[in-house]
Symmetry: D2
Subunit: 310 residues, 4 copies
């Protein structure tokens, strides 16, 4: 890969995708997110040798939101093993919106269909062990600091508090899970952990580095240090394909073809196996909850560089 | 009506219906209710002149459970008026189980279809005014004491606590309503009121007297004292026909034809316009949540005395 | 009842309700119905002595549409008995639109919840016996001719053909029923019978007379001639309350309180037990499929004459 | 790849997976399929150089059933282009059983979520062009003959007729699509085409060759002859990952990780990009409709040879 050329292409793609920032709107249901400047768009690419290529608002901080579901799943899998985790959360895409409660009632047993929808991620949060919320949260934050080499990664308290105040639908999901026996920990504490890991603040550069670790099957390809077991990294990448982009995952798989996970703050973490991690930030969302310009940017990039895995 | 004959017939019908006590099972999801002796069956009839005809376990105390939804609705309608109440809860039967959450998501606007399902009754509880839970609860208890002339009616604390501990599905419903803006009061406080009014303890005799008040369009037919506005009594009786027996209401309307409301403790309050109130208690339930023997008893009685309104 | 006064009041109520004709729109999914003049409104009342009081467009002919579901149910019950009929169709209101297919899949066993929704009425049509479609249809038409004393009642061929050409959703329902074993007769033949009985043409006066027969428990109150068994008439009136006005039945029961069945051609048949039958015709419909002005007219009339049964 | 070793490993894996043939049951809803010997299991692997490695019942003929949905989609995409096809059928996994009708009503617009569920495949069949059914069917059969080099591939008339007689649920789906305007061709003709392409008869060897063509991005890797446009092959492989194994696709993606499509006759076509096509046949199915032993065989093979794409 000619890095100078790649940097230029990245700038061009960013420019082209910028036209899409006006097509969606910033998340309104979390007041703190609603303040975001809709015109922003940033991308960063992390290569196996650690090189970062970036364009646009790659240093703007945003919260992981649903991207964090990948990392809470990693911790839960490491602490409990596949067998226990998948007894309480399934592996199937749903075709429903991320906050839907219907299938919790219609599907028997009442377990969330996958860990990428809110209900599933709340169930996963309930499986993260630690002697208190702080310790449980730190298991996620510490891993992210290591993966990114950025020790300043932490929770955005304002977003966390905003989320906590307005998350009544998530409370409904959590109590339903409690009633079904899927969630066995304290509901408000578990939600607290969930809201906090959603509010972890990063930049597109951080996200690119996280994506690179998954692309390298769980290691830092420069140092060989392992952060995520290979098997767990594989599971995460699979979920990113089948359920990573909410109920537009199928479309994204066909149109872009890269394992990716989005969040309603406008971030997307994409992972091109053995080649690169990609972090994108563009806060205007489509009706499914994905960054409009971010998806377009990844589509263009995938086309330009033939990144699709299919 | 020949009262001596009626008393005899009542005994015969009770005996016949007793065979059905073994066909269902006592409510298991509230531990305190699960302790109930399944063989019990009692009935009491209150005539316009105040006469009570009773048979079987008519003095056994049980909790109102869903029967109380009628009385919380009465208070909410009296305090807020029809317009405000029906902005937050509909008037339609659902075809779904009483604790279903699906239609809260699928129906737009997200308001509960009627006040007889749990979601609707929780919304109603949120509309009962008072400076604290105690005052709000008392508005219901006081009315019931007046209607029955029984000043000792009160909440069964053991059942209330049992219910409160195991009501996570109701919490899910309440938080969903909170998220939709249907519930604007504090969730746990509102649930507390809901659990307490469900746990009000009565006998079949008390319930017969309550049913007689509704049968007399809201007054005590002996004294002429009014407890419920005529219009509100009419609305309640209509709901008892269309939604009073959970998702077996349509069947009950055809097979029995009397406005009635059941509860999962095994009680049924029935109302034969201008003729009588009926209280039934039989704790074994069918799969919809209605007293098996109680429904059979009312069917036989309706047939024997031609009580159906259709 | 002072008939002269009643006639005047009827005129006044019709005038007042006429204001609502502009609030809905005529059924568009059956092309032939879409041609209807939206400004029309007519009402006719049949008293036990046979007197007809009418106002407005009481002589305009329109097709029964869903009102016919009452009469196909009568024939099916007479020919097969309750036990057999209710093995294939339930007795519960649904909370869903009349042409919904969802509950056919979600409810076990897969039988339609009631005979007033399309799926249920198609199942009922499959239970009407006869050596061919003509004979099966005639069992309905003959009964209507007798009930109304109008030997010219027959199918409107243009509407029937229009309906047949555009009824693909009904075909979907019928094949689903076939697959579930609920429908055992030929699908297209059964639909043909269903479309034809929906397209039976009447006036508000005819409908008033039909309603009077049900109000008189199945007989012509002047001659004592029985057209419908008492038990069957009772079942029909019950269904009219719980499911007669599509998924606005609960609201209608509270706001109007009279057993009634509507059709998408704008007709409503109402039945005030022992007092009167009412036929209404107003072709503009609300979003549930009920005549807007017709419902308002019945509401005013019920209020004026205290006709509610609750 | 050491072919002798591979052949041995294949035998071992087949033997191990054979233990699972007893765990499911053969499809019962198509009578002709119910006759199948449940103990069968066969596998064939086609390498880029055309080598076939086979074990077990690799020469037993079975019908493609849902595997054919991949090939009808190919023809429809080639004839109409992506834009037109995806206006009528979506790209999202559903989380529902393959013959579910619910989302056709709940999702707006009413288009099937993807072309791998029955509703979607029927919509696709409606887009295959030709002057009659025979010509339309031949476009599929001809392609399969070329891809496999087997000119004798044709429809199994007994299975086709059996399917046609018992496919009322599919008729319901088709009429729903007709009503929604998704299907614009004649319903019975379209279903006829659908039933026929489902009843195309093949062996595991044929299927392995088909899978190899998709693995080679649409060409015969030996001759370079192109049968499927690269872009279309990519789309198919993506659908195989997200929706190929009914509502167990997510689980299969994690546990096996190979693009695959199953059918209720017990066949599975799997595609390992650039490496191999795999055909499996094992007629006992799990409750989702996938070959129990076939899935196990692929899981073992994927593990042994590290075939997963994630």
């Amino acid at each position: 890969m000619d890095k100078a050329l790649a940097a230029k292409q990245l700038e061009a793609v960013l420019k082209q995708a910028s036209a899409y920032t006006g097509k969606g709107s910033v998340a309104s249901y979390i007041p703190e997110l609603a303040k975001e400047d809709p015109g922003q768009l940033g991308v960063s690419i992390c290569l196996p040798d650690g090189t970062l290529l970036s364009a646009g608002d790659a240093d703007v901080r945003f919260t992981l939101q649903s991207i964090s579901k990948i990392f809470s799943l990693i911790i839960a899998l490491c602490q409990n093993g596949q067998k226990q985790v998948f007894e309480r959360v399934g592996k199937e895409p749903t075709g429903d919106p991320f906050n839907s409660i219907i299938k919790l009632e219609t599907i028997k047993p009442h377990k969330p269909l996958n860990p990428m929808i809110n209900a599933g991620a709340i169930a996963v949060a309930g499986m993260i062990q630690g002697k208190n919320i702080e310790e449980r949260l730190n298991s996620i934050v510490d891993m992210l600091r290591k993966m990114t080499g950025n020790p300043s990664i932490c929770v955005n308290e304002a977003v966390y508090c905003s989320e906590k105040r307005t998350a009544d639908r998530n409370r409904a999901l959590a109590w339903f899970l409690k009633d079904s026996g899927i969630l066995t920990t304290d509901v408000e504490e578990t939600l607290d952990l969930y809201f906090q890991h959603c509010a972890i603040e990063v930049t597109a550069k951080d996200v690119a580095r996280m994506g690179m670790v998954l692309a390298a099957d769980g290691i830092n390809p420069q140092t060989g240090e392992r952060y995520v077991p290979e098997e767990v990294a594989r599971i995460c990448k699979t979920f990113m394909v089948t359920c990573g982009m909410y109920n537009a995952s199928g479309e994204f798989a066909i149109d872009v073809g890269i394992p990716a996970k989005s969040g309603v703050a406008g971030g997307i973490m994409a992972t091109v196996p053995h080649k690169m991690g990609i972090g994108v930030f563009g806060p205007t969302l489509d009706d499914k909850g994905n960054s409009v310009a971010g998806v377009e940017l990844l589509r263009l990039l995938s086309q330009e560089w033939k990144l699709g895995i299919f």
